[in-house]
Symmetry: C2
Subunit: 238 residues, 2 copies
């Protein structure tokens, strides 16, 4: 596993998409329509997706790898607004004032669907899956606001790790393993912190015996309870 290229667990991204959507009662005509409008994208690590004009409102399915949605402020400041892992659907809708780009975190294979078409032309199960996903993204974005606006660096890191455990964690007996596909810079960009602060907070968590780190990307959670505690998701614990 040295060159670490994609190993294609899903030979056909579209098939993977249909598997994940799980829409059993979708007529054949809709399936072929979907297939015709899904544009495959293959991005190298770090590469940005070229989004066409008509894809301003787009549903992007991640078949393999991981990607990030980045908002830009001025020339040098950037803020990661969403991470997107294998099997997830990222909703892009650019009414926004801020310019956004979609970039590959690792080499990845995507399918881009014009969301307008999907919603108006395929009003069956698929559209409802997209609506579901949109609601989920909205929730995540709002949770992100709370995190960015009101949490301390320590709480941000803990919340980040908890959410990564949820999404890509390998749960074992007693411990949970994480292999993060993003750099410290990317973690910082997503939490509104600098690399140094991310590093310092990881060290703090390590010193408290809550996590252990192996190399740059591997982390094991030793004490999930205390980690969650530090993420302060709950309020009014009365």
């Amino acid at each position: 596993m040295k060159p670490k290229s994609l190993n294609h667990p899903h030979a056909d991204p579209f098939q993977h998409f249909m598997d994940v959507l799980r829409s059993p009662d979708l007529p054949e005509s809709s399936i072929s329509f979907l297939q015709s409008c899904g544009r495959p994208l293959h991005l190298a690590r770090g590469e940005a997706a070229e989004l066409r004009e008509q894809e301003q409102r787009t549903a992007i399915f991640v078949s393999e790898g991981a990607a990030k949605l980045v908002g830009h402020v001025g020339a040098d400041r950037e803020q990661i607004v969403a991470f997107c892992f294998e099997g997830e659907l990222l909703i892009l809708s650019v009414t926004s004032h801020t310019p956004y780009t979609l970039q590959a975190l690792t080499e990845c294979r995507l399918l881009a669907f014009p969301a307008g078409d999907l919603i108006t032309k395929v009003t069956e199960a698929t559209s409802s899956a997209i609506v579901e996903r949109t609601f989920l993204a909205l929730d995540q974005a709002r949770d992100a606001s709370v995190l960015l606006g009101r949490k301390t660096a320590q709480e941000k890191l803990a919340s980040f790790l908890v959410s990564m455990v949820d999404r890509i964690g390998v749960v074992g007996p007693k411990i949970i393993a994480l292999d993060l596909p993003m750099s410290r810079r990317e973690i910082g960009d997503c939490l509104g912190l600098t690399i140094e602060t991310v590093s310092r907070q990881l060290t703090a968590l390590r010193n408290h015996g809550i996590i252990k780190t192996y190399g740059r990307s591997k982390i094991t959670i030793l004490d999930m309870a205390r980690l969650s505690e530090r993420a302060v998701q709950a309020s009014c614990t009365t």
Copy 2:
């Protein structure tokens, strides 16, 4: 205009909702269905909406007044995640980790629709209006992430004013008038700042001759161009 109670420009909130949705081709049956599932809420200034269990996923139409969606961190920290003004539709979907409450900014009159029902049972124009609104909310939430994560206090205030001008500004020749329905505390909660910082930044904008303030809630924008400039929405201005 002393007691400043609601003056009911829209006697029937449901009629107002239909007017705003503008779905001409909606069958009579759907209209009556919608009318049956819209629960009217009347909140006094500061009051929190009591959301029922089945309203975890809800579309809330604001017929009169203004409201805020607040996320809570621990017992005392709170973050405003969305403001919602007359004629707008707020989408709530609580998959979130963070607890949220909906509170009245001013006395207001709302209609709460269980969003699940709307989307599955009324797949016509109405549902697409809700989907539209969801996309918009998603955009706003992502812009908020960028603002919270990477903008300075000055930029946050400027961005806030620009967005308020968009939504409730009264555009005149040369100047734009704003009458903000929220307190300094609420502005701060929404921008991840304290009241003091909000106040100081308003003073700074006033000293630069960009805005003028009258009393607590009235602001006029004297120089919209310079205000937008300070909001730094654009990047890559090359």
